[in-house]
């Protein structure tokens, strides 16, 4: 591998993810959900609700949150924290946009994989 590798890997284009929706990235046993909000911000969470492991990527995305499709927990896309009366946290990953590309920090993902 190139010595200048900084950990950021392109995982797709912005247009691949629907607005107010999500797509998944598989990395070994870990599934990462890439969310895109109405105003085109992107976030990455592990695709597991802290409540009963519901696939967050399948939920409804609204403002800065996603509502889990299993039992309607509301999870912050920014922090992964459950909102309101619920408590718990989904793992977050560093993700950024460069132009149209979505990049994910692999070192971050790697750490999650080894947990």
């Amino acid at each position: 591998m190139n010595a200048a590798f900084d950990g950021w890997v392109k995982v797709g284009k912005l247009g691949d993810v629907p607005r107010r929706g999500a797509r998944c990235i598989k990395s070994g046993d870990v599934t990462i959900a890439i969310f895109r909000t109405a105003d085109d911000r992107v976030f990455a969470l592990e695709d597991r609700c802290p409540h009963k492991n519901g696939p967050l990527s399948q939920g409804i995305v609204h403002d800065g949150c996603v509502t889990c499709p299993l039992h309607n927990w509301v999870i912050s896309l920014e922090s992964g924290e459950a909102q309101g009366a619920d408590s718990g946290r989904s793992a977050t990953f560093k993700v950024k946009r460069t132009g149209d590309d979505i990049l994910l920090d692999l070192r971050d993902v790697h750490r999650a994989g080894r947990r």
Binding site: V11, G12, D16, V17, C24, I25, I60, H62, D63
Partner: protein, 815 residues
């Protein structure tokens, strides 16, 4: 012995006068009212919301028939008085009814002014004065085309906005160079013109109409003095009103512009009084509600021997067009002895202008932000010296001393005698006293006891704040449960406004109904998506991101994130070919569980999301379509074997069930909809606990609805006995459509029925043939767009991305 009081006219002014009279001295008079209109007393200020579709006639009735009965009032509807015989003290109506009086009140109101240009008598030239006019306009709006409104004053603009909301193209013609020039200065008039144009209403100022052209006696165009011609399906004249004083004049009473009265509201005949818009008092005629109500209070007192006097009114105006905030009061012409303070914020669309003389406010125009209107109006009426707060005056009450106050604190800071409700002249202390003395706890109660916010309703917010302030935490404001935390509106209001304002996308709903969040939430988005799909089947583009995952992938999510798939089995019938195809799919995709459902179909559980399209493709090849087992929509029609096999069967229940299912499948409904058809009253398909059920009997078909067998258990209600299968289908489809149009999202049919009333549903579906057919037709229209098999759509590639991961990373590559 009671005296006889006769009232000519049944508008808002005499209505209010009677309320005062009955409150103070209920036993003094026998009251008889003659009304030229064929109805009870309603709130004329609210005609504009009726025209725009935001309210119904029932919503604006002030006194219903019961009120007249309870107060012993004789009300003659559609009875115009033609003669007052002052010598015999008798009045006679055009319909021949006569009544003697001891005291007579003339409240004939005003007539709309019609410019006598050629063509003014053509069919389709309307005025805007009463409910009949509104109904004529609504009928015209149904036919579509362009409405030309002549007159850019308060009434004309409200009519224009209403007609636009009803889907017509609208042009406003105004003789002067800016709109509402009597209430607004040119700058505010310009902002108003811009706001109307942004709504797609054409505004032509300095437009002098010279002729109305017609075809076959019907309006077709309006010609202006400069030769311009504008197409017109209807013309609404809203130039102004003139007091209706002819009857008084014919009776020999003193009449100027209106019926002349003194401060005691007496005409030139001491036994005859007048009030309302027909009156001329100290040379002034009034067309706004606040002065009329002041007159009403004085007159009631005079009638029971009191000494109250009316001394004229200063008036303030609000434009009642949803989304445009405009307030003006007093006198704002320029003059040598006058100064003005102006605040402009073009970006925010705010304009405020105060006209001062000797450090006292004499006029105020507010546009875009009118919350301080009543406060300025209060300073104006009391002629308070504002020298000390002059520098911050225009920023409003909240900025007077110290940091800005929150709205509650601003209300708390109002003096006790500050006027809260301008229409009804109710001050803060009266509202607070009523709340504490009478133990009031809701807006409606305050309205009922004080009249505050009961007329135009714009001060409702202030009244609610007073409730909150007085009752503290024990006050729970919203009687209507809001749809979710993103809005204060309930489901009904949202559904009504979607139709009334023709909102056809989720962003449009959120913008127009002032959603509090930027992009809704998981509660309101699916609800709005359903309402829009249901109300605009041909125009609305379904928003998949606002559907629950089950509806997005046409399968039911399970606890481990896999899905279950249920193909449709019409009426629960299947065949060896279908069963073989299902067996093959189960083997091919190693589906871990197969189960027979309660709705007579087969459920395959534990399918990975990625496999869904391939599963559907295989099922589709065998002729299956989606069973919508995941949908807030039509699920199953369960049947028994009926006359085909059963020795007790009275009708072909299987065939009927299949026929119904094939007709309604694919339709979205507020919540899931499960049906059943039983071939005899033994009821093997359990039709009497379904959302809709049919029990076949020898003489026909008994239609049932509103059963429940889930969280609640409830037997069905009977809609009625129907003779033929065709009629059964029509009734069931109409019922489904009524529920689709009225139900709240996630509200099962039994809850909807409890809310609306079973009798009302029976009336609309069983008895009102026209209505039933209209429901049926709307359902059929909607099915053109809804009855598409989502599985085959998906197999053919729609939104394929949904099912595949975007990328698979190899961790080793990074190391």
């Amino acid at each position: 012995m009671k005296q006889k009081l006769v009232i000519i006219g049944n508008g808002m002014a005499p209505g209010r006068m009677l309320e005062h009279l009955f409150e103070r001295a209920p036993e003094t008079y026998d009251v008889t009212i003659f009304n030229a209109e064929p109805r009870v007393n309603y709130n004329r200020l609210m005609l504009s919301p009726v025209l725009s579709g935001e309210k119904s006639y029932q919503d604006i009735v002030t006194h219903d028939d019961d009120w007249y009965a309870a107060n012993g009032v004789t009300l003659h509807k559609s009875a115009r008085i033609e003669t007052i015989d002052r010598t015999a003290k008798t009045v006679i109506s055009a319909t021949g009814i006569s009544a003697d009086y001891d005291k007579l009140v003339i409240a004939t109101g005003s007539n709309p002014f019609i410019i006598p240009i050629p063509g003014h008598d053509l069919e389709g030239v309307l005025v805007y004065r009463d409910l009949d006019d509104v109904e004529r306009m609504l009928a015209a709006a149904d036919a579509g085309g362009r409405a030309v409104v002549i007159g850019g004053g308060l009434l004309g603009l409200e009519a224009a906005a209403g007609l636009k909301a009803q889907g017509m193209e609208v042009t406003v013609l105004h003789l002067m160079s800016t709109l509402m020039e009597r209430q607004l200065d040119p700058a505010a008039g310009y902002l108003l013109e811009k706001a109307f144009e942004e709504r797609g209403i054409d505004v032509v100022t300095q437009a002098n109409s010279s002729e109305i052209l017609g075809r076959d006696g019907q309006v077709s165009r309006v010609r202006l003095e400069d030769g311009t011609e504008i197409d017109a399906a209807i013309v609404v004249m809203a130039i102004g009103i003139r007091p209706s004083a002819k009857l008084a004049e014919d009776s020999g009473l003193e009449v100027g512009r209106g019926v002349v009265v003194g401060d005691d509201m007496r005409t030139s005949d001491p036994d005859i009084f007048a009030l309302g818009e027909c009156v001329e008092h100290r040379g002034q005629c009034y067309g706004l509600v606040a002065p009329l109500y002041e007159m009403a209070s004085v007159l009631a007192d005079q009638l029971i021997g009191g000494e109250s006097l009316y001394r004229g009114s200063v008036t303030a105006t609000k434009l009642k067009v949803t989304g445009i905030d405009l307030y003006s009061a007093g006198d704002f012409a320029e003059g040598e002895d006058r100064e003005e303070i102006v605040l402009r914020d073009a970006a925010a669309g705010i304009y405020k202008r105060l006209v001062l003389r000797d450090n006292r406010i004499i006029g105020a125009v507010l546009y875009g932000e009118t919350g301080d209107g009543p406060w300025f109006f209060d300073l104006l009426k009391k002629q308070l010296d504002i020298a000390e707060m002059r520098e911050t005056l225009v920023f409003g009450q909240a900025y007077q001393g110290g940091p800005p106050l929150d709205p509650m604190a601003a209300v708390a800071a109002l003096p006790d005698d500050a006027e809260i409700c301008g229409c009804n002249g109710v001050c803060k202390s009266k509202i607070v006293k009523s709340i504490t003395d009478l133990g009031l706890s809701a807006l409606d109660e305050v309205r009922a006891h004080t009249k505050a916010s009961a007329s135009c309703g714009t001060c409702s917010g202030l009244v609610e704040q007073l409730l909150g302030l007085t009752l503290g935490d024990s006050y729970t404001p919203a009687a209507v449960q809001p749809l979710c935390a993103c809005t204060d509106l309930g489901h009904d209001e949202v559904r009504r406004l979607i139709k009334a304002k023709a909102l056809k996308s989720i962003p449009a709903v959120m913008q127009e109904l002032e959603w509090k969040s930027s992009c809704g939430c998981a509660k309101c988005r699916p609800a709005l998506n359903y309402y829009l799909v249901s109300d605009w089947p041909d125009e609305y583009a379904d928003d998949y991101q606002s559907r629950f995952i089950n509806e997005r992938v046409h399968a039911n999510i399970q606890k481990d994130g896999t899905y279950s798939v249920v193909p449709r089995m019409w009426g629960g019938m299947t065949s060896s070919r279908e069963l073989r195809a299902i067996a093959d799919v189960v083997d091919k995709f190693a589906i871990p569980a197969v189960k027979v459902t309660g709705g007579q179909r087969i459920d395959m559980l534990g399918i990975e999301k990625e496999d869904l399209p391939a599963v559907w493709a295989d099922l589709g090849k065998a002729g299956f379509v989606s069973g919508h087992a995941y949908a807030k929509g039509v699920r199953t029609v369960k049947t028994c074997v009926g006359t085909d096999w059963c020795r007790f069967g009275t009708q072909d229940s299987t065939g009927l069930g299949i026929r119904i299912e094939k007709f309604v499948w694919g339709s979205w409904t507020p919540a899931k909809l499960k049906m059943a058809v039983s071939g005899c009253p033994r009821n093997c398909s359990e039709a009497t606990c379904k959302d809709i059920g049919v029990i076949c009997v020898d003489s026909g078909f008994e239609i049932h609805f509103a059963g429940a067998a889930g969280l609640d258990i409830k037997g069905t209600e009977v809609l009625g006995l129907i003779k033929t299968e065709d009629e059964v289908l029509e009734h069931i489809v109409a019922l489904v459509q009524m529920y689709r149009e009225q139900g709240h999202y996630l509200e099962r049919i039994y809850k909807w029925a409890a809310r609306i009333g079973v009798e009302e549903i029976r009336q609309q579906i069983l008895e009102d043939t026209d209505r039933r057919e209209a429901y049926f037709d709307r359902f059929v229209f909607s099915q053109k767009f809804a009855q598409v098999d989502p599985w085959s759509e998906r197999v053919s590639g729609l939104d394929k991305h949904e099912f595949k991961p975007m990328a698979t990373l190899s961790l080793e590559a990074a190391e």
